[in-house]
Symmetry: C2
Subunit: 476 residues, 2 copies
């Protein structure tokens, strides 16, 4: 961990929750509003979301996804059509009861998610196998009436994407469910530098109305897990509730099979808690709105600002770059770069200019590198790639060194209490054991990973024959 | 106008409103929902909005705009702080009265626009001249409880961007107001191929709470006007209502000066009604999701589909291109290309392959051009530029030939009734005359154009001394 240079941020070892809040504030990511439980995404925060959106959307489109936009309000009758779904969401929606000056005949909820609207739309839009598959997605915001809120992790409104697909066969729906989970996992690793565990949620933890829910789980710096994206296979349950049918090639009327999948601005919370340190935010270059900050030293001396601007113009061809030419001191600017997580800082002053040098400082390691100005573009380009790679490796090393196994109950309890992280353990498959484990330790089943291991023959909780290896953990 | 090839679309001469509806349906831009007054933006419609968003956002950012995201719900107390504003919007908002299972202590409206939220945010975020200017924008949807709705032109929810800025001086706010109006006007001309008239709204037509509202007005094919974008200068009215103050360089506490500006999915309605013809939609290449459609002729013959795919790969380097290899007939595919407004169609069949030729067909003029396959990329690239330019010129010619002047009341009434289009006329500046003109002819003041002409000394309505030349017209 780099030396602590920023006094305004509480140490994560002292109080991780306070460290998180301080980091969000000092990086200027969000702002407060008079609307309780809602947040403002400020430019520095929203720009990260824009970079996520752009790169993830491109990956979606490579797999044939098309974007659409559906209404933000859902009539009560539509929400109620699928029994499990309404039970899951009705307690946490916001209701519109008046439109203009009149009371509505049927109240409308602000969408908490749009399965019901997509079903309603597909029911009208799909008639033949020729209309399938539908592989639609929308970028929007949703509202869920949470009691406790924290920036990015839990708020009454958040930005997300929700993909909703309809297929002719169960196999095709299952394939798409896993395909999108893989898109998420690759995106997290390659773009956000966050390694994830891929697996299936248990019956207890699956989405309201789904046949199966798949998840990517990431490990935060404090050893807690964060569910970072989910992909659901609905089978034909929603189709039956909404009458979404098509005439197949064999002239038979059949129900479609559906999926949905989503990630949210929560991913920004994951970036903060996976990569951040006691000096603040640390952004992977691929989602850093500013990748390089040039800081002129003794900027009032002749030629310094001109040189900084010249370097900016050169670097603009290979990176997102800015010059900080405000009247703050260099030390203050350095600290701001740290807090805001800018991957690379370039220092250039009169002596550097004389020697045709400049100094590069990596945010991830604190390493200082003096280079010839002639090799600036090449070196910066190379370093941004290196930082991206090293950040993933550092996160993976942290994750791996905080992943434990437990084969006995005592070992399990000891690990939960003393070694924050993932715990791999065998499980009998019964919800009762899941609930007992949660009640006694606070750890929940994160997922049944695709990569199964055989740790023992019996459930870590009840001792009955084990069916699955599960990742457990305390979670956000 | 091209020959009518598509029977499914009503002629615009017969029934323009029905032509519009048919065109929207046949181009597959929107879909119906069970949510009254709301629409679905289908892939073909949403993709146009994505292209608008991408290109407009880039132009915003060149002027220093930063994107943010604010809550979608506004507490009643916040909405009421600025008197004119709440009077303008309260009658048409949707109210959330319940969150989760509880009734809210204070009801919240779904944002119809976000001036009040930005003021609330700026009040907390701005303290010093160093914090200024704030040049923020958000892309989102808003809700207004309209009674009558039409796709793109008027619906209870629509997508838009809303820019909100805060400045230290009145001059700077006025400069930004006009700067953004110019961004909109250039964008409409250069990207949407729609010429616009720039000017100021009258007192009667200005935005609720603004000191001055500026507008771009476009002329549709039926001679009606469409307000296509607005930019408002608020002076310090909102700042005073919300207490948005800063300490200036001279150590005095001052109110900020604010602006806001927006365009909506209405622009898609403008594209349809400015460029469309009796065969359907006609998209300017710069906002056409598919710019070139390759249609294989006798596609079952050996080598035809392979050649079509080869041409697609070559063209993908210079254009957004697809192959229609479905089992529909070529004639059907041609008609679909027309209806969907795809700017350029490439036909390639066995004889073309033998001759190393292919046929290009322009959507805007219907012109067929046989070219050697060797010059395909160059010719397509060149033609897309030509089509973009020619569409703007055609729209400008239509607009100019449907812009009339009237210096007497009889002439004015005759023009409104018999020559659909803009009418330039002199006006005394009194709201009473504006209201009389509207009551008697249905024409409203579109704007007081920046380019003033002196048509006569007296108001076309009351005969008193004229103050301004005004564009009048019937409008959407």
């Amino acid at each position: 961990m780099a030396d602590k240079k920023v006094e305004a941020i509480t140490s994560m070892e002292e109080d991780f929750a306070q460290w998180y809040t301080d980091t969000v504030v000092k990086a200027d990511l969000t702002g407060y509003t008079s609307v309780k439980g809602f947040m403002v995404l400020k430019p520095a925060g929203y720009a990260i979301w824009e970079l996520i959106q752009k790169q993830l959307d491109a990956r979606f489109k490579e797999t044939g996804v098309e974007n659409v936009y559906l209404p933000m309000l859902i009539p009560e009758g539509l929400l109620q059509k699928e029994k499990d779904h309404v039970e899951g969401f009705a307690p946490e929606v916001a209701w519109v009861t008046h439109g203009g000056l009149n009371e509505l005949q049927e109240k409308l909820c602000v969408r908490p998610t749009s399965e019901t609207l997509f079903c309603d739309f597909y029911q009208k839009d799909i008639t033949s196998y020729r209309d399938l598959p539908k592989v639609y997605n929308q970028w929007c915001s949703v509202v869920r009436w949470e009691k406790e809120t924290r920036p990015f992790l839990r708020s009454r409104e958040f930005l997300w994407q929700e993909g909703h697909t309809a297929h002719a066969t169960a196999e095709e729906a299952q394939e798409r469910t896993i395909q999108m989970l893989n898109v998420y996992a690759d995106f997290c690793e390659q773009v956000l530098a966050i390694p994830v565990v891929k697996g299936q949620k248990t019956e207890k933890e699956k989405f309201a109305g789904a046949v199966a829910t798949y998840t990517i789980e990431a490990l935060m710096h404090d050893g807690k897990a964060l569910q970072s994206g989910t992909s659901h296979n609905f089978g034909d349950g929603f189709a039956k509730a909404f009458g979404v049918q098509f005439t197949d090639k064999d002239n038979q009327l059949k129900y479609v099979h559906q999926t949905s999948w989503g990630v949210t601005t929560r991913l920004i919370g994951a970036i903060i808690m996976v990569h951040g340190d006691n000096n603040g935010l640390k952004l992977p270059p691929m989602v850093a709105p500013t990748q390089v900050m040039i800081i002129p030293i003794q900027q009032k001396k002749e030629g310094v600002l001109e040189k900084a601007e010249e370097l900016r113009e050169r670097l603009a061809k290979v990176a997102r770059v800015k010059v900080d030419d405000t009247d703050k001191s260099p030390g203050f600017k350095f600290a701001e770069c740290e807090m805001r997580g800018i991957p690379l800082r370039v220092e250039v002053g009169p002596r550097d200019i004389e020697n045709n040098n400049c100094v590069l400082v990596r945010r991830d390691t604190g390493e200082k590198i003096t280079i010839s100005m002639d090799e600036l573009e090449a070196k910066v380009e190379e370093l941004l790639v290196t930082i991206q790679k090293d950040m993933l490796e550092a996160a993976r090393a942290h994750r791996d060194s905080h992943t434990f196994t437990a084969t006995t109950w005592d070992e399990f309890v000891d690990t939960v209490n003393n070694k924050p992280g993932f715990i791999k353990a065998m499980w009998c498959g019964e919800t009762e054991c899941e609930e007992n484990i949660k009640a006694e330790t606070g750890a929940t089943t994160r997922c049944m990973p695709f990569e199964q291991e055989h740790l023992s023959d019996v459930c870590v909780c009840c001792g009955k024959p084990a069916k699955k290896m599960v990742y457990f953990g305390r979670a956000y």
